[in-house]
């Protein structure tokens, strides 16, 4: 029998306990450090970036890493380090927006499907299945292409593709939670179905949603970068990591630094999210939290 998750007395204490447990988990710490670093970079890029990411300086084209340009320069003479730093801001923003949009919408859809069951469940989940049957990148590409290439559209496309993940997961949780007696108690007290979904069901799915959100954030950054790479996402001169790799590809043989640094940052960021997500899953598992 599933027992409901036990929080430790209010949000603040729950947070404190989570942090305490996380701090003992080396991989969680690693993931948190990576993401913290990226977030810091994103937030302070305006202040700390040595150069403006957009200003062209044709005299400094394609300089190797060293001296004033730690990561070298691109074909327009722009400092790659500064561009990478600003790129962090873009990527993290993409991640957060996708997760917010897909997470909220997907969770509600999943909760409704799981709670009502029957035909509604069928209809919703079969729709989700259809979306899931496309490889996420391919579907995102199709959507982004249809909407027109821009970063905003890329975000929407990726969010759409991620909705079924949340829906499926929350539906599973809803199926278990709705059998618990406190849901029956709510009905006996006269609560309407949607009240129960929002006040009882969804709050009890929060832990799993957080874990999934962390993992999806990594994945969406990757997909958005891929979209930008093929020209469907961020447009030049936006310093998005994927877009930078797209251009840097041409120069890969002689100017390795151009594509390598943005690529490295994508890699590290996504790894960071995945590690943190996995650790969070272990930490938020109700059986371990006791």
């Amino acid at each position: 029998m599933k027992t409901a998750v036990l929080p430790k007395g209010g949000l603040r204490r729950e947070l404190a306990l989570t942090l305490r447990v996380l701090s003992r988990n080396p991989s969680a710490l690693g993931g948190a450090v990576i993401i913290g670093f990226m977030a810091l970079m994103a937030l302070t890029s305006g202040l700390l970036a040595p150069f403006d990411p957009i200003t062209i300086s044709l005299g400094d084209r394609l300089l190797a890493p060293g001296g004033v340009h730690l990561f070298g320069t691109d074909e327009m003479g722009r400092d790659i380090l500064s561009r990478v730093m600003y790129g962090a801001r873009i990527s993290l923003r993409v991640g957060v927006m996708v997760v917010l949009f897909a997470g909220v919408l997907g969770s509600i859809i999943g909760a409704v499907a799981g709670y009502f069951g029957g035909r509604i469940d069928n209809l919703i989940m079969r729709t989700m299945d259809i979306i899931l049957s496309f490889p996420s990148l391919v579907l995102a590409m199709a959507l982004a292409a249809a909407m027109g290439p821009s970063l905003t559209n890329a975000v929407m496309a990726v969010a759409f593709v991620m909705i079924p993940k949340f829906a499926r997961m929350v539906r599973g949780e809803a199926l278990a939670v709705k059998e618990l007696p406190f849901i029956a108690a709510a009905r006996v007290s006269g609560a309407k179905d949607f009240w129960i979904i929002f006040h009882h069901l969804l709050p009890n799915c929060v832990n799993s949603v957080i874990v999934l959100a962390t993992l999806v954030m990594g994945e969406s950054i990757l997909v958005a970068a891929a979209l930008s790479f093929i020209g469907l996402g961020a447009q030049p001169p936006t310093p998005e990591w994927g877009a930078m790799i797209a251009v840097g590809r041409k120069y890969l043989m002689d100017q390795w630094w151009y594509a390598t640094f943005p690529g490295l940052f994508i890699l590290v960021t996504v790894i960071g999210f995945n590690i943190l997500g996995d650790a969070l899953r272990d930490v938020l598992d109700p059986r371990i939290r006791r």
Partner: protein
């Protein structure tokens, strides 16, 4: 305690703790008890008293990182189980010491048929051909009064009811003629009519085969029906040990008295039930001295400071309480 050489199982001052995120829970505090050959000892207490932990410690079934035995000995036939090398411990399990649990599904593999699993157990202990092994299995099922034994061998565990699964477990665990059977709340999850059958089978088979039983339960009525002697636990300590008749006729420890009057009250036409006020204490921060003192209506001066030791107050009757200094 008397009869050192006679005890089959002897737990001496067993203490253990459990690491949790909220701190260290001192789940066992100097637990001592003994079991003689051929007797049924009941280990009774409410949730959190440590009875299950004690039982599982005998076979070292609790994973040691969060759990840690901090002191004491568990002597089985004179040898300290806690010091046995893992190979010998494994030989003990299922051979000399068997165990049945509350939920038999956890011991039966859902992807193999019952017959399959029973024959596997038989073959572990005796090398016999398939036909003979099947015969032995049928005989085992017959002993636990399962009708249609032939059909049952072909079924999967989830196709059987809880009562039937428990009987299969009993048959399997007794098939190798262990010296000691540990039964951890085997009937708690069963209906009362099925429980009646299981208890009868258990009593009959263990007597017939000379198996000693350590029977763990929270149900005093079952204790009254089945056991020869009883050990009562509270919050990780043993508070009283006595023969079953003595215990019910004249319980000495205030907790035992409270426990017994809570249920006997139901048998009579009383208006208001006796109850023990308060709640079971946290084991992370247990009360000092005697762990029961905050709820005890006969608290004395030494109770909050000094934990009472388990001492014999009458022949065969042991008590851990300051009310009865030895």
């Amino acid at each position: 305690m008397a009869g050192l050489t006679q005890d089959l199982l002897r737990i001496e001052d067993l203490s253990a703790e459990f690491r949790t995120y909220q701190g260290v829970a001192k789940v066992l505090n100097q637990v001592s008890l003994s079991l003689r050959p051929g007797e049924i000892l009941g280990l009774v207490g409410e949730s959190g008293c440590g009875k299950s932990v004690t039982a599982r410690s005998i076979l070292r079934l609790i994973p040691e990182p969060p759990f840690k035995i901090t002191g004491g000995r568990i002597l089985f036939r004179g040898r300290d189980v806690l010091k046995l090398p893992s190979g010998e411990l494994r030989r003990l399990r299922g051979n000399s010491i068997s165990m049945i649990f509350q939920e038999p599904m956890s011991s039966l593999n859902p992807v193999f048929t019952v017959g399959n699993q029973m024959m596997e157990v038989v073959n572990l202990h005796q090398r016999v051909g398939r036909t003979r092994a099947r015969e032995i299995c049928l005989e085992m099922l017959h002993q636990v009064r399962l009708p249609d034994a032939d059909r049952i061998l072909g079924k999967y565990p989830h196709e059987l009811s809880g009562g039937m699964r428990q009987r299969v477990m009993i048959a399997m665990e007794l098939s190798c003629r262990p010296d000691l059977l540990i039964a951890d709340e085997p009937t708690t999850a069963l209906d009362v009519t099925i429980q009646g059958q299981i208890l009868t089978i258990l009593a009959e088979l263990t007597r017939r085969k000379g198996v000693s039983v350590l029977f763990i339960t929270h149900d005093m009525s079952v204790i009254a029906q089945l056991c020869d002697r009883v050990a009562v636990m509270y919050a990780g300590m043993v508070v009283e040990i006595a023969g079953v008749r003595d215990l019910f006729a004249a319980p000495l420890h205030p907790y035992t008295r409270g426990l017994i009057s809570s249920i006997t009250g139901l048998e009579e036409e009383t208006d208001h039930l006796e109850h023990i006020p308060g709640v079971v204490p946290s084991l992370i921060d247990p009360p000092g001295g005697c762990r029961f003192h905050p709820r005890c209506d006969q608290e004395l001066d030494p109770c909050p400071r000094l934990a009472p030791r388990l001492i014999p107050v009458e022949p065969g009757h042991y008590l851990a309480c300051h009310l009865y200094p030895g």
